[in-house]
């Protein structure tokens, strides 16, 4: 388990990077506006980064061992379907998670 000093240093690191990303562009707005590459990256990075994060959160799932990733697949299908249908982010996340929690605690125990 991490100690408090590490956790504080980690929080400050994330704070510094996040604040820099949010504030520095205001100071150097013009070169950014003129850079076609930066424009391309910032419009094409978000979806891809999120896809990588999805894979990252599922990296521990084993398809060869029982339950063969079935709870994850089921919860993903529910989350995606609900989000395509209602487009309500909070509802999709909560219902998807509830399905997953229910399945791993009640079905595959």
């Amino acid at each position: 388990m991490p100690d408090n000093a590490y956790l504080m240093a980690a929080s400050l690191t994330m704070f510094a990077v996040t604040f820099a990303l949010r504030s520095l562009p205001f100071a150097v707005l013009r070169p950014l506006r003129d850079s076609a590459l930066i424009g391309y990256l910032s419009s094409h990075m978000p979806a891809g980064i999120m896809v990588i994060l999805v894979v990252y959160t599922l990296r521990g799932v084993s398809l060869s061992e029982a339950p063969h990733g079935l709870p994850e697949i089921l919860a993903l299908v529910v989350t995606v379907a609900l989000h395509l249908w209602k487009r309500n982010a909070v509802a999709s996340i909560i219902v998807g998670t509830a399905v997953y929690v229910a399945v791993v605690n009640l079905v595959f125990v």
Binding site: M1, P2, Y6, L7, A9, A10, S11, L12, T13, M14, F15, A16, V17, T18, F19, L21, R22, S23, P25, F26, L29, L32, R33, A36, L37, I38, G39, Y40, L41, S42, S43, H44, M45, P46, A47, G48, I49, M50, V51, I52, L53, V54, V55, Y56, T57, R59, P71, E72, A75, L76, T79, H83, S92, I93, I94, G96, T97, Y100, V101, V103
Partner: protein, 210 residues
């Protein structure tokens, strides 16, 4: 904002951290998806440089918010500083997403303060609830997966570019194969490199056609 904050707070205590770290994260980091991700990273005692790089890649999207966020409306140095610090996806969507609406300085700041208040209150409530109930509910970490799935779908709807996300999926799987221990940074690095190559190729093709 409140339910998601509560889910984050719950995840913090379920991961074995003290409840007040939910408060520290929500105030200091204040970037929802990064906070969720950070819980797993700090529990694994990820080295700080790697944590910084991950934060940079996950939050890079904020760079372009500066172009259309109405910071010029906010008066005063302290106000502007808070406004930049609290420039989350939600704050951006609620202000810059409505070009016809003219917002006063106070309006922008109150809007951001309310967004943060909801998030912080939610995360503390979730963390306290989690530590009082002390139930070990398996599978709550799926919130993180569901969150990123939803964010990916929303981003795809805006981008309308299928090859990009497919390229990202390929980079993620490749990273999982070649560097399972450093999957996140490797996958994101490969993806950004691939996007740069794609940009150069598309530009070359456009120049050839021109």
């Amino acid at each position: 904002m409140f339910p998601l904050g509560a889910a984050f707070g719950l995840l913090v205590v379920q991961s074995g951290l003290d409840w007040w770290w939910a408060l520290v994260f929500s105030v200091l980091v204040y970037a929802g998806s990064m906070e969720f991700l950070a819980v797993g990273l700090v529990v694994a005692v990820t080295p700080l440089p790697q944590l910084a790089l991950t934060t940079f890649l996950v939050n890079f999207r904020h760079v372009f918010y500066a172009l259309s966020f109405p910071l010029d409306r906010v008066r005063g140095r302290a106000g502007k500083t808070y406004s930049m610090y609290a420039l989350t996806d939600e704050a951006y969507a609620l202000t810059a997403g409505r070009p016809g609406v003219s917002l006063s300085s106070a309006r922008v700041l109150w809007l951001q303060a309310f967004c943060q208040a909801y998030w912080v209150a939610g995360s503390v409530a979730g963390a306290l609830l989690g530590s009082w109930l002390a139930v070990d509910l398996l599978g709550l970490a799926f919130t993180l997966t569901a969150l990123f799935v939803v964010l990916a779908m929303d981003a795809m709807r805006v981008e309308r570019d299928l090859p990009g996300p497919v390229l990202a999926l390929f980079c993620a799987l490749l990273a999982l194969l070649v560097a399972p221990g450093q999957m996140l940074v490797t996958g994101m690095g490969l993806f950004v490199a691939a996007l740069c190559v794609r940009f150069v190729l598309q530009k070359a093709r456009r120049d050839a056609n021109a």
